[in-house]
């Protein structure tokens, strides 16, 4: 699956399946609803040598279930050898700086690039 979308969001695979681009406001009702997105994210871990990028620069809103979903992906990446994971974030979206650094506590090797 290359793209998952809803009324207020889109999650899309790009760049030879090594980048996932998030847009809009993600406030699904729980982990069951987030499962397809988590599966898409985990799919990027199949090639341990390709850098993986999550582009969050246009993700305006993420509820706590979405943060849980992202954290499960980060922990999965951390637990595999050699995964090179980077987030693209936005300085103009306040929650990026505040909440994404919690994920760095889970995976210190996670790189977050703000633009």
């Amino acid at each position: 699956m290359k793209s998952i979308s809803g009324e207020s969001f889109e999650v899309r695979l790009a760049e030879n399946d090594s980048m996932i681009v998030f847009k809009g406001a993600l406030r699904l009702s729980g982990m069951e609803d987030y499962a397809p997105i988590l599966e898409m994210l985990k799919g990027t871990l199949s090639d341990p040598f390709a850098p993986i990028v999550l582009d969050l620069r246009e993700l305006d809103f993420l509820n706590s279930s979405g943060i849980t979903m992202l954290s499960r992906f980060v922990i999965e990446a951390r637990n595999r050898d050699g995964i090179n994971l980077r987030f693209f974030a936005s300085e103009s979206i306040g929650w990026h700086a505040r909440s994404l650094q919690n994920l760095q506590r889970l995976m210190p090797a996670l790189t977050i690039s703000f633009t």
Binding site: S8, R27, M31, F61, N63, R72, E76, G94, R98, N102
Partner: protein, 200 residues
């Protein structure tokens, strides 16, 4: 009606400017109400910034955006929790209230909860009041990943404290008309300076 208080929560300040919304839990299926949570939370976020003074620390577009997001995030989490855990089949409204004071914003949500669920929630409230929220947040995320089937993480409350510097409080009281049902009010106080992310 006797009540038990945890953390910091006061009575509604009727002298302050406030906005109060109320929803009937019997009015629509959960999935439809879920969509309305986002609409209501966005509305509260947009509403609050129209009342902030256009001077001092509130002058920048960035800080207004930070406050709008903090209010929207907390309102959304409160409404999601209220919809998830509200006692079904009792006609107790789910309420959310936004109060504006000079140096802080208070958001509070109330709903009816079964006694056993209220006890679990109270236990979690006591736990998060005792420990460092940042450490608890990481612990909960690790636990959630290790046991994906476990449902309740209360992560939303921890992010309110850790990411938005909110001061939380709870009031638990038995509902006078429904034996075995407790009214639970959860409150978040956002100091306006830290809601803007300036000193966080």
């Amino acid at each position: 009606m006797t009540s038990e208080i945890l953390g910091h929560i006061g009575p509604p300040d009727e002298r302050s400017e406030f906005l109060s919304l109320s929803f009937s839990p019997l009015g629509a299926p959960l999935r439809h109400r879920w969509r309305n949570n986002g609409v209501s939370a966005d509305f509260l976020g947009d509403y609050v910034i129209t009342f902030l003074p256009a001077n001092g620390s509130m002058a920048t577009e960035r800080s207004q955006s930070e406050i709008r997001h903090a209010v929207t995030y907390i309102a959304n989490e409160f409404l999601e929790n209220a919809m998830k855990y509200h006692e079904r089949h009792v006609d107790i409204p789910i309420g959310i209230r936004l109060e504006l004071a000079g140096d802080h914003i208070t958001l509070s949500a109330s709903n009816g909860v079964g006694f056993a669920q209220a006890q679990r929630y109270k236990g979690f409230a006591e736990y998060i009041l005792q420990e460092n929220a940042g450490d608890q947040l990481v612990t909960q995320l690790e636990k959630s990943a290790a046991a994906p089937e476990s449902g309740e993480s209360c992560l939303g409350l921890l992010t309110m404290i850790n990411d938005y510097r909110a001061e939380l409080g709870w009031r638990f009281e038995f509902h006078p008309a429904y034996p075995g049902v407790m009214m639970v009010t959860t409150s978040a106080i956002l100091p306006i300076g830290t809601a803007a992310g300036e000193s966080a």
